[in-house]
Amino acid sequence: MSTNLSENKDLLVLGIESSCDETAASVIRGCRTVLSNVIYSQIDIHTVYGGVVPEIASRGHIEKINLVVKRALSEAGVGLKDLDAIAVTYGPGLVGALLVGVAHAKALGWAAGVPVVGVNHIEGHICANFITNPGLEPPFMCLVASGGHSHLVNVSGYGEYEIIARTRDDAAGEAFDKVARAIGLGYPGGPKIDKAAREGDPDAIAFPRAKVRENEYDFSFSGLKSAVLNYLNSCNMKGEKINTADVAASFQKAAVDTLVGHSMQAATDRGVTKFAIAGGVASNSSLRKAFEEECDKRGIEFLRPEPIYCTDNGAMIGVAGSYDYLLGYRSGLDLNAVPNLSIGERKGVFKV
């Protein structure tokens, strides 16, 4: 089969996603057209605990999975037996949460006689760019940054991913969450810091930009996080008033400088012409603006998904699954969740 879009414009794929705290399903036509995109978010439930509680997330998934999948099908006006494939996230993510989607998708495919293909969650995030940018074709470079992941990936072709850089410690979104908690903004940290930072001075406090010796493109955010915590402690000891907006803005600037700086260095070194961002952190307004400016300076085309496709969703899984299906990838009835699945790893799929 070919990944040529015009030859596969009627391909129908159901995407199912349950790797963290969103139960989501979507129907994709012709690899890129979103016919439905249903997301049940549990964020209000987890906010009480200051982060995602795996057992509560898993319980939420099993309660909502049928309703979410049924609604995705009915909004798309598609029956189960019309589907060419069912794509499901099998990693990385929370194992108990992943298992609900995996067990459901496999049984649905088995009962309806539809093939199932296991999809890598991060590859799904990258593929969200195909939805918003219909003309986008590989090769391109992509920064994926979210609460659990920070990777710089070279997409050399459909289904072909090469990791250029990764975080050595905290994910970017994790640092946002931790700093937001420390300055009393609460969970989830990303949007709250983004908002608070608009009122603050990004140059008020000089927080460090870490470099990793072994791989100049790799990220490290734990030093930045510690610097913020140390700053807060020292203010408290001295009895100085903390300007939350300035801390948020200065922290965000440091994080964005690191993400953009390393990304642009790699893109320039490799002669990249198209650069995309993906994942929850990609909806951060300051990050988007910085990438726009820096890509513009270098004559690199900058791409990003709409915010609704930056958060965890079934559409991105349906898109990644559509291409994986066309490339001949399938999963067996024994597909298992792989919580630490790497980008480009094909542990739960085989080629037909």
Partner: protein
């Protein structure tokens, strides 16, 4: 009437196909169980596929999917529930939520002694219940719950009747049972002391006749326990 029954509540993954003829005659057409190293995610659906192939059954041939709905391993329960919900959704049929411990006790459905199924619930507790099967009727002496072993053994001692123990909790607490149970008792042999989807299917068939089915969309396992975060969070956040 045909039922597909699943049990992945404990260490065993088990599935069975039950057929009931119009004259009331019941038959287990196929049964498959595994208790080995692989996870339920890797074994349950391949076994379902196998028994359905052996019995020429397709998803839409079933009148209901029965699932051991708890208590049990949280993840194990959800693998069974997600599988059942998807098959029931695709086939447009209801789910029969079989209480795990009564399903397990049905291994001894014609037993005259009392039957005490017991699963290791960790944190010094067992999931247990006490049933009697008198003249074909089930008598619930103690409904399934998460409780300390002592609570169950004291209750058994207070009744004074002979008891059959079964389940993985018996393996975990064999010595404690020997020390605390003052009535005559026996431990189930290996072929009867674990979850078995054929027993789940027989109980499910009775429930189906009584109209005790649920919409697949609404089904969720009965965990009998809140999550650790809710337990500890309840203290922190004054939620209780």
């Amino acid at each position: 009437m045909k039922i597909l029954a699943l049990d992945s509540s404990g260490l065993v993954a088990s599935c069975a196909v039950l057929e009931k003829k119009e004259n009331g005659e019941e038959k287990i057409l196929a049964l498959c169980s595994t208790d080995f190293k692989k996870t339920h995610s890797q074994t349950l659906l391949p076994m379902i596929d196998h028994i359905c192939e052996q019995t020429d059954s397709k998803a839409e041939d079933f009148d209901a999917v029965a699932v051991a709905a708890g208590p049990g391993s949280f993840t194990g329960l959800r693998i069974g529930s997600a599988t059942a919900k998807a098959i029931a959704m695709a086939a447009g049929i209801p789910i029969i939520e079989v209480p795990t411990l009564l399903g397990l006790a049905y291994n001894f459905r014609c037993e005259k002694r009392l039957v005490c199924p017991m699963m290791d619930a960790r944190r010094n507790q067992v999931y247990s219940a006490l049933y009697g099967f008198e003249e074909g009727k089930t008598v619930i002496y103690k409904d399934q719950s998460a409780l300390a072993l002592d609570e169950m053994t004291e209750f058994i001692n207070s009744l004074g009747n002979e008891v059959v123990f079964l389940g993985d909790g018996v393996d975990a607490y064999k010595d404690e049972i020997a020390g605390r149970v003052k009535v005559p008792y026996v431990l189930a042999p290996a072929h009867l002391n674990r979850q078995n989807a054929a027993s789940v299917a027989v109980l499910a068939s009775e429930m189906y006749e009584e109209g005790r089915t649920v919409n697949a969309d609404d089904h969720s396992p009965e965990y009998l326990r809140v999550s650790q975060a809710e337990r500890e969070g309840a203290k922190d956040f004054n939620l209780t």
